[in-house]
Amino acid sequence: MPERIIVPFGPQHPVLPEPIHLDLVLEDETVVEAVPSIGYIHRGLERLIEKREYTEYVYVAERICGICSFMHALCYSQGIEEIMKIEVPDRAHYLRTIWSECSRLHSHLLWLGLFADSMGFENLFMRSWQLRESVLDVLEDTTGGRVIQGTCKVGGVRRDIGAEKLAEMHRALDPFEAQCRDLGDVFLNDETVKYRLQGLGVISKDEAYALGAAGPTARGSGVAMDHRETGYAAYGDLGFKPVVETAGDCYARCAVRVKEVYASIDLIRRAISEMPEGSLDVKVKGAPDGEYFSRVEQPRGEVVHYLRGNGTKHLARARIRTPTLANIPPLVKMLPGAQLADVPVVVLSIDPCISCTER
């Protein structure tokens, strides 16, 4: 039997700027076992709900993650609205959809950049982030924040996007899509990228389903599961089909995200042209009493906010299951058999967001 060595990976590793620790048991350069551990930055945000009024917790929920921030706020608000039976105006639904998809765009472009970096393709990394910057500019112009938008609230949204800005965004979409397609072509067609990704970290459809994989990790294995299909916010009006790849390897997971970038651009375009007029929010009175499992599709997969109110201004419990936590078991199954050189690629292919996980 070859000699085994243990290579620590993380919690502070330059290729993965997230505090997850993996003990990699190696035989030569092949991984035989990977043991993950987290909890380096646990913040106890779930307990903070007992000290904050439910309307203010939106800002805390938004700060669970710096990338899916808007979607955490959206998921939380939707949960409260469901418990309190609040009907949100249509325009708020559409604005929420636009900001959600902008967040998805910036998250996926960020991920594509990090992914390129993990396989040593610096130029592609720079290009992805350069494109992401234009999405962030739009977010800053419309919400006031680059990554923490702070525009979602219980009962609607806090800000409107003016007709002029909407038209400008609509005009900018076509050139932006062309640039994204150039970028996507590199990810999907470049030989060196394919050589690094194809056949790596394969997880079958059944396995992905049984392990409870979420988001692009599941869809890359052929599980057609995307919470946007349930038609929350304006997705029901806009119509939506999940992007599915069947190979189940890192290349498939990358392809899912690249195609979701295109799909998001398309959704934004349609949401802008079908934007209804109307009010932005409804007045929220009273306090939530009841419980609800609110679910939203984040860039990384489905997030679950379990909210439970007891008739006071303070909720009794918020439990947040982030997609990365659900994707850790598939990751543990993917790693054995991979080369050490491929470990960063495999780990990044689930798009780990540890700060989400350590809510």
Partner: protein
Amino acid sequence: MTVNEEQTTIGVALEDLTREVKALQTDGYRLVQIGCTDTGGAYEVNYSFDRGYQYRNLRLTVGPETEVPSISDIYWGAFVYENEMHDLFGIPVNGINIDFKGTFIKTAEKYPFSVTRRGGDQCRNA
């Protein structure tokens, strides 16, 4: 195509847990999450499952020191949630396939969400 999401919650007794979970697995449900809520002296443990956006919850109510059987032999991926139950709430879980024995989530304080600790840890901001 829009699918309507439905949520149902059913209570389950401790001794029926593994049998019920097994039945759900045979029906093709996937495990979404396991989450605990403390209800003042006891815990509610929600085992959430999903099949085609139909959401089902098994709700187990246990006392502070009650041992809960692991479902990780049915759903392999359950170990993350069960370790979390143990590390944050101090609920002993029996027979997890990958048992981190309290080191999965390394918090400064042991069992920060445990009911027996209530009142002891005041939030600094409050």
